[in-house]
């Protein structure tokens, strides 16, 4: 899957995505244009610290240009998310001045028809510590991962992205062959467990040697999809929902949180989630985590519907399956069934509710196909699309 993952190099490279200026390894902002630089997971795992502080408030922002210099090559940028105006090479809208989000702060991908992911910084946090990685072959197989960085740690944004990528790599490798029914479920379950282990290893690799106080950590929710079978695994409070076209929406995961434990013990959801420390998570991926084994939930769907994975940035505003189902149905209806448009609409909706946290939404269409039973890995299947952090808006 290395080739597929290399699609993210444009995101994590040390070249300014806005103006192309080469940045120093520890720089967080472009020297030339002041744009946010992408956070580089590789640089951090090899020991280069990523400073946590935002830009120095009062330093000079210097730009020099020779008088007769040719115009700088400008990669095409998506239009302004707020007003639709063109975004300048300096990273701001030419009409309303809104700061265009960096690829790390906002990305939207659709690796194959029927599968999409959107991740967004939200309105209140300074950076996006959520991450998503999705792979799909367009023939019923998909690897879906959402990780939500725990913000008490300095480099959780790096850890969550590394974890999601590592997990998707594992989920996307190999094949369950001709296995059917419970054998297929068992094989996919093993894959999800292996994916969580790889994600945990990636978080550990992204942990600086000297960071014993608050090592980076993140949640983990992943789905190994081989339509019509899905196995979902979870560590922490990111979630998976099954939203059938006909029938009741279903929450597939139990939160590893104080509230989640109370709900599992029978306390009403609304009451439990309003309690003190309700959102404190009890399990996570990180070197300080006592238990990183995913809790698995298998599902064999019996009709068409949408599998939705999300971080708490979405479900905090619509926790009950019915509530989330209603919001998602509205988004999907408005999008004419296009998952990328619908996932973006769900992110916008969460921002309209306050955008208090990072928001990540993954949607995958299930139950429509007969189920692919190819014998090769996803990466070598013709027409495989995989992308991560590549904005396709």
């Amino acid at each position: 899957m290395d080739d597929a993952v290399s699609a993210v190099d444009g995101v994590v490279g040390r070249e300014c995505g806005t103006c192309g200026t080469v940045a120093g390894p520890a720089d967080r902002f472009c020297e030339h244009c002041g744009a946010d630089l992408p956070t580089d997971g590789r640089a951090t795992s090899s020991g280069v610290a990523v400073p946590a502080d935002p830009a120095p408030p009062e330093g000079p922002d210097t730009a020099t240009a020779p008088m007769l210099a040719p115009a700088r090559r400008q990669p095409p940028r998506p239009p302004c998310r707020e007003c639709g105006g063109a975004v300048d090479s300096d990273g701001y809208c030419t009409q309303c001045g809104a700061k265009a989000p960096s690829e790390r702060d906002h990305f939207a991908v659709a690796p194959a028809p029927g599968v999409a992911a959107v991740s967004d910084r939200g309105l209140r946090h300074h950076r996006n510590e959520d991450a998503a990685a999705v792979l799909a072959d367009g023939a019923g197989r998909a690897a879906l991962v959402v990780c939500d960085g725990v913000s008490t740690s300095v480099s959780s944004d790096v850890a969550s992205l590394a974890a999601a990528r590592a997990a998707a790599d594992v989920l996307g490798t190999g094949s369950v062959g001709l296995a059917e029914g419970s054998a297929r479920i068992a094989a996919l379950g093993v894959r999800v467990t292996q994916a969580a282990a790889a994600a945990a290893a990636a978080v550990a690799a992204a942990t600086p040697d000297d960071d014993a106080e608050s090592p980076p950590s993140c949640t983990f929710v992943a789905a190994a999809v081989q339509d019509p079978v899905v196995v979902v695994g979870v560590v922490g409070d990111s979630r998976a929902y099954w939203l059938p076209d006909v029938g009741e929406p279903l929450l597939l995961t139990i939160d590893d949180s104080v509230a989640g434990q109370q709900i599992a013990a029978g306390r009403p959801r609304a009451e439990a989630e309003a309690g003190p420390q309700a959102h404190a998570i009890t399990r996570w991926l990180g070197v300080d985590s006592p238990d990183q084994t995913p809790r698995l939930t298998p599902l064999e769907v019996d009709g068409p519907g949408w599998l939705l994975l999300c971080s708490d940035g979405l479900w905090n505003y619509c926790s009950e399956p019915a509530a989330l189902g209603e919001v998602a149905a509205g988004a999907l209806g408005g999008a004419g069934g296009d998952p990328l448009t619908a996932a973006s609409a769900l992110v916008d909706w969460a921002n309209d509710q306050g955008g208090h946290d990072n928001i990540t939404v993954v949607l995958a269409r299930l139950g429509g196909a007969t189920g692919a039973t190819g014998t090769t890995g996803m990466a070598s299947v013709a027409g495989t699309a995989s992308a991560e952090g590549t904005d396709q808006r």
Binding site: P57, E58, T62, T64, A65, G97, R124, H126
Partner: protein
Amino acid sequence: MTEFSAAVYQNEYLAGGSTDVHAIVTVECRGAGQAGQTSAGDAGEIVIVDTSASMGWPGVRAAQAAAAAALDQVIDGTWFSLIAGTHQARLVFPFDGGPMGMAQMSPQTRSLARQAIGYLAPDGGTAMGTWLELAARVVQSVPSVTQAHAILLTDGKNQHETPAELDQRMARAAGHIQVDCRGVGSSWEVGELRRIAQTLMGSVDLIPRPDQMAAEFATLMRQAMSRGVASADLRVWVPQGAQVLFVRQVAPSVEDLSARRREVNALTGAYPTGSWGDESRDYHVAVRLPASRAVGQEQLAARVQLAVGDQVVTQGLVKALWSDDSSLTARINPEVAHYTGQTELAEAIQDGLAARAAGDDRTATAKLGRAAQLAAETGNEEVTSKLRKVVDIEEPATGKVRLRKNVDKLDEMALDTTSTKTSRVRK
């Protein structure tokens, strides 16, 4: 190779609900080269000397020496002319009456111009508008001249035309020529010459004695010859719905540019800044954004650019970042504070001197006291020393001053002309 750079100094953090953004943008030019040598087009230089009767023979002889000293600094190949000003304007050189009102500098024309200078004699009154009008016409007679500059010398008030006539004639010259204005002695009016200098994007200063004119003229012409960038505009882009509160040059001198605005497009205004040599200038830009955003949100408040022709050669970004951390939002940027103080200082001096001239000693004491306080706070030594000749400063910290009884007119004028010259921020 001419290079421009821009640096922005501001506190970009705004408290929730705030919409006003202030920034100091420093624009620096390096490698400007010489006038008429590096830009497309030629340079033109005009020396305008007052030869009114009040100059008398000693004054005219000093003016002759000054004009000669200025022309000595003009590089060969530069277009030039010499105008004698009274209640009307007279082209003294070139004197052949051809279609071109200027000659190209060469050993021959230099020597002919010297001879022409020798014929200047005191006679008549003063109508500076006519001088400027002729200067602009002379410049336009040579189409290749794209960078025109003049030194204007006077010794008196503009008595032979109305202020309205002066305004009309100035307006005809504006945009065609930049004019540095110098007043010799104490019989001219600082406010009047300042108005001309501001309209025609030049400086104004006092030459106390006639024998100091030659050195001043040589310096001015050397400076003019070192301005290799014929003209540049400061461009300010603001977001849709935002309002530019003001655009002000604050160093090396205070100059409100707001009224010079020319629209580039709906969101961008251009403010002419004249010609540039190797130098740096500071601008204070204030913008009111259409709305406050949520805490944590960032947006651009202004793009401040320098444009030479249609080419943007440098850009500084003024940002707004809303925060609920009052330790960030309450901070006052030292550059913004310094230049806000310097601008108030200039106003306090000018208002104080005007009140003093009108016999309103109370206002004069209050204004000049505030000036003394601001000059001390911002470390403007030059202003403080000139203030001391007009008022006794008893407590610089509180601005307690007493008006002095016998003030030399020249000292008062020196304080007035110095008022707009700013000190840089102490780093």
